[in-house]
């Protein structure tokens, strides 16, 4: 990345190169966190960053690894500043590598500014609580796990599950009702296969979204250590578009599991005391510096909404990666292998999924007055149904009471009709809620404790039919 700097100095001596780290001779004026170029004997250069500086040595983490580094010919060139990304409105429609260099054959962008990829923490007192409902057209999200502008809502998936298709569907369909505003998609592929990356790019192209998209691609065969930078580079672009160009940005980061693996590799190279499963103890904080770069602020029109995607190793939600992510993000959309095997798309595991910011984005004036009640009722009814389904396996359906059988019927139809929908089907929030009422009508009316009585009179199919 070309960026102007007056403080370039070179250091000759290396002590050690191993894994992704170089330990170099100390040099006066080297600053913590600054970017270096590693000049190889072959004439190539690699980017790196100072991660420990002392009077005895300088430790450098090299993006791209230390292959071909030797003790004799290699040089370290200190750039005197942190890693910065050239940013500009020109980035829209372009495809970059993980460090922000164009890889689509086009010219370099005309930078309006250079920004530190680590960003700065948003002042909590300046944030506005997210509350604008985003209609994705997917019932399981809109009805039960509503997404709002400025939220970070990850998809927890497993290998082989259709998370990419769902993310693409959300990108195609998402809109804020009644508003035409500038929007952009920032897409970061972190260590995913070339096919997966191209699936998204093709999708954006086909639906005319590419001109509103900035893509950063680090495929599975790109240097592992570069993955540490990709999400930060992408979010720097997202923040620039949101705060400097008033755009509503949806950032999709896939796959965060690869990011965490890279972090673990780096931590091991630094010989740090590992925490759970070998991941570093600071992984929570490190992930937070990525995920927290979402939100809305007072006095700015734009917003950054994040949808990270991660695959849970062995579908285990208690694995450190989904676990720490869930502690930072405002909810999670969990995919279920069981539903997927039943042929249900999108296979959202409703009981495990959650949107924490939903409460501020729904209700009268935002979606519909009965939304909260319907959501709670569908949820608890489905939970009851699933519990009874397990029971029925042991004692047989015949041993269940008539009430219980109603719940079983409800759970089955809920999965097929409410959760299940077409990949190209877009349901409005009214359609989603009405569908919910249709299903709730299976249950006896006095079981509907979570919905207000006045809403039952207004929306329950039984009374609606009477009126019409």
């Amino acid at each position: 990345m070309p960026s102007p700097s007056l403080a370039i100095r070179e250091s000759p001596g290396l002590y050690k190169a191993q894994g992704s780290l170089i330990i170099a001779e100390p040099m006066k004026g080297v600053s913590y966190g600054e970017v270096v170029e590693v000049l190889l004997g072959t004439g190539d250069t690699r980017l790196g960053q100072v991660i420990d500086v002392g009077k005895d040595a300088v430790v450098i983490q090299v993006f791209g690894g230390v292959s071909e580094v030797d003790m004799h010919y290699s040089r370290i060139r200190y750039r005197g500043e942190a890693l910065k990304l050239p940013v500009g409105i020109d980035m829209l429609g372009r495809i970059f590598d993980g460090l922000g260099r164009p890889i689509d054959g086009g010219p370099p962008i005309v930078p309006e500014d250079y920004q530190d990829i680590n960003g700065s923490p948003l002042n909590p007192a300046s944030r506005l609580p997210p509350s604008e409902f985003i209609e994705t057209g997917i019932s399981a999200i809109d009805g039960l796990n509503s997404l709002v502008r400025g939220q970070k809502l990850p998809i927890f998936s497993g290998s082989g599950l259709p998370h990419n298709r769902i993310a693409a569907q959300i990108v195609r369909q998402a809109r804020v009702r009644g508003k035409e505003e500038k929007f952009a998609i920032v897409f970061a592929a972190i260590g995913v296969s070339y096919d997966d990356a191209m699936f998204f790019i093709e999708n954006f192209k086909r639906y005319g979204a590419l001109e509103n998209t900035v893509a950063f691609i680090n495929t599975a065969d790109s240097p592992v250590i570069e993955r540490i930078a990709v999400p930060r580079v992408a979010l720097t672009a997202a923040e620039y578009l949101a705060w400097n160009h008033d755009m509503h940005v949806l950032a999709i980061l896939t796959d965060m599991t690869n990011y965490c693996e890279a972090l673990r590799e780096l931590s091991a190279a630094r010989e740090e005391v590992p925490s759970r499963r070998g991941y570093p103890g600071y992984m929570y904080t490190d992930l937070a510096t990525i995920y927290e770069r979402a939100g809305r602020v007072a006095g700015k029109k734009g917003s950054v909404t994040q949808m990270p995607i991660l695959t849970m190793p062995d579908d285990d939600i208690t694995h450190p990666i989904p676990d720490l992510t869930g502690y930072i993000t405002e909810g999670q959309l969990v995919l279920s292998r069981q539903l997927w095997l039943k042929g249900i798309y999108p296979p959202f595991d409703i009981l495990m999924s959650l949107s924490r910011l939903m409460k501020d984005g729904i209700g009268e004036g935002k979606t519909r007055e009965d939304h909260r009640g319907v959501f709670m009722q569908l949820y608890s009814a489905y939970a009851e149904g699933v519990k009874l389904r397990e029971l029925a396996v042991v004692v047989g359906t015949e041993a269940l009471s008539p009430r219980d059988k109603k719940y079983l019927e409800f759970a089955d139809r809920f999965e097929k009709e409410f959760i299940g929908q077409g990949e190209y089907e877009r349901r409005t929030i009214e359609e989603t809620l009405d569908l919910g009422w249709e299903l709730l009508a299976i249950l006896p009316e006095d079981e509907l404790k979570h919905v207000k009585e006045e809403h039952i009179k207004k929306y329950h199919p039984k009374y609606r039919k009477k009126k019409s």
Partner: protein
């Protein structure tokens, strides 16, 4: 003597400086050209180990390190109420004015406004003898908070001069004691507990408006409690509910290493919501400390101690304070990170061996005390800490260390949360050691039979847990009628009593008397049900009763003047049972 040294090494938030002879552990230092705030956490020879409370990117070997000679201290005085601070007490709204909505490093601002004038009313006269913590006067800081100006804990002597009632800033002299000028502003080191005369055993419950806590697992004023829970179990909502509705004079909310949007939500909702007891916005009795997860790690520790110090300061005025810390696990992780960088020998799961003692030093700052100073007064600081166990596994070190210290546990249960049973406090694993302490208060002020109602309800829930195992084997219909009724009533207790909707305009807060009357309705339904079964009524008939739906809607009964509703409900239940029994006997 000011110590001036130079940076020797930088590794993340940890800086080692040389030439630091003369510096003390826990002394605050300023590091580098941007004068980043740091704290010395160890000294060795002429080297000092410093944890820096701001981002260290850009620091160089050889940069200046300047000692201040003082430990990290909180500024205390009028202006605290309604404030929003970061972990080192920088006022966040002022930072926004200075540098915009991103927090930049090296920004400095005074925690308390220096130019604002407060209307001070003296309470002492010239010639009065003053002991530490005596009231000197007061400032009506908000409509609900009378901010007493006290003699600092290290000041005593005779008042030589006192200003008349009038408007003064916090740095204007208001009195002279033995030649020393006294101002309203006090400073107190955050790691040092403020002194008091005597610690008392807590006897009064801290009413929170949350049924499961008030009725089943009461908290006491001056108590300490922990809320562990995996992600998605509603930890933050529960904590916010406690901060909002607890019967305290001042609430301190510490967001330590948690989400920015949640903090924003808390700030906004505290401005909008009204305290049911005073009718004033909640923000007028609250202090916020926000050090979100992406803000510098080292400041998580100070945010916790800063909260406790502010809490003790108001306690010393004779107030009841609640401090919640969300989440102590993030603080423990920060300790682990610093400890790892210091290359200390790790304890369990990489946490330092002093994890337990450090946690204890925080929770031990709670208590119901007789304060120092005249007039004699009592105040309390109650501390509730959230714990975020990885993978919702309570056997991990932070949860276990915390359990050894606290006296009430509200265990949040993932499975309850999946069923959307909120608050997801598990009634079988949670406990409170304050039950005995608060019994006489409950019996005197709320319900003379509270203890027996509570025990009966818990017994029903316990029985349900046992029966459920049986049901899994034989099915519910195979149970005897009495047990079927237990299952039915247990479900009522769970759904119609324990579940409480934080977002429902009425149900979000439940007065203890109403909670007690609700429980009485459910237990009446149970007792009469048992009687009816003995007289030949089946549970199937009982399930069809209209009383059930009425009980399910009890939560929506207004919080004022509810007694007649309940009297009417009890009558309704009795009448319906009588009719049921009559029917059975007519057919027989």
């Amino acid at each position: 003597m000011v110590v001036r040294g130079r940076v020797y090494r930088v590794s993340g938030p940890l800086v080692i400086a040389e030439n630091m002879r003369g510096s003390k552990v826990y002394e605050v230092v300023e590091v580098g050209p941007e004068r980043l705030i740091g704290e010395i956490i160890g000294v060795e020879g002429d080297k000092a180990i410093i944890q820096v409370y701001e981002d260290t990117t850009g620091l160089r070997v050889g940069d200046n390190v300047v000692g201040t000679g003082y430990p990290l201290a909180a500024e205390l005085g009028p202006g605290l109420i309604g404030s929003i601070y970061d972990g080192i007490q920088r006022p966040l709204p002022i930072l926004e004015e200075l540098v915009g909505f991103f927090i930049k490093k090296g920004v400095k601002a005074a925690p308390l406004p220096r130019d604002k004038k407060w209307h001070f009313i003296p309470l002492v006269r010239k010639g009065d003898k003053i002991e530490p913590n005596d009231y000197i006067g007061y400032v009506q800081e908000t409509e609900t908070v009378k901010h007493y100006i006290m003699a600092p804990p290290n000041v005593h002597g005779v008042i030589e001069d006192i200003v008349p009632e009038g408007d003064y800033t916090i740095t204007d002299p208001i009195a002279r004691i033995d030649g020393k000028e006294l101002v309203m502003l006090q400073k107190w080191p955050v790691r040092k507990p403020r002194p008091y005369k005597e610690k008392l055993e807590p006897t009064e419950p801290l009413i929170t408006g949350q049924r499961v806590i008030d009725f089943f697992f009461p908290l006491a004023k001056g108590g300490k409690a922990a809320i562990p829970g995996g992600f998605g179990t509603g930890k933050t909502v529960t904590l916010q509910q406690l901060t909002k509705w607890s019967h305290v004079d001042i609430a301190i909310y510490v967001g330590c290493g948690e989400r920015g949007n949640e903090m924003a939500d808390a700030l906004h909702s505290f401005r909008k919501l009204v305290d049911p007891r005073t009718g004033k916005p909640l923000v007028e009795r609250s202090v916020f400390i926000a050090n979100t997860s992406n803000m510098p790690v080292a400041a998580r520790e100070t945010s916790i101690f800063l909260g406790a110090t502010i809490g003790e300061y108001f306690r010393d005025m004779g107030y009841h304070i609640l401090m919640v810390a969300d989440s102590t696990s993030r603080w423990a992780e920060a300790m682990r990170e610093i400890s790892g960088r210091l290359e200390e020998l790790p304890g369990e799961e990489g946490y330092p061996a002093y994890l337990g003692s450090r946690l204890a030093s925080f929770y031990e700052r709670s208590g119901h005390v007789v304060t120092l100073g005249k007039p004699e007064r009592r105040g309390s600081l109650t501390i509730i800490g959230a714990v975020s166990p990885p993978g919702a596994d309570f056997s991990e070190p932070v949860t276990q260390s915390t359990l050894r210290i606290v006296r009430a546990l509200y265990a949040l249960d993932v499975n309850l949360a999946y069923r959307r049973h909120y608050p997801a406090i598990n009634w079988l694993t949670s406990y409170s050691l304050y039950v005995d302490n608060v019994t006489s208060w409950w019996h005197k002020n709320i319900d003379p039979e509270w203890r027996s109602l509570r025990e009966k309800a818990l017994a029903i829930l316990q029985k349900e847990a046992e029966l459920e195992e049986l049901v899994r084997l034989v099915g519910a219909e195979a149970l005897p009628e009495e047990d079927k009724l237990v299952l039915e009533v247990a479900r009522m207790i769970r759904e119609d009593f324990l579940q409480q909707n934080a977002f429902h305009e009425i149900d979000t807060y439940c007065p203890p008397r109403k909670a007690s009357m609700m429980m009485r309705a459910i237990l009446l339904f149970y007792d009469l049900g048992l009687e009816a079964i003995q007289r030949g009524v089946t549970v199937e008939k009982i399930r069809e009763m209209k009383s059930r739906a009425r009980i399910a809607r009890m939560k929506e009964i207004p919080n004022k003047g509810f007694e007649p509703y309940f009297e009417e409900l009890y009558k309704f239940i009795r009448d319906e049972y009588s009719k049921l029994i009559e029917e059975v006997h007519v057919y027989a």
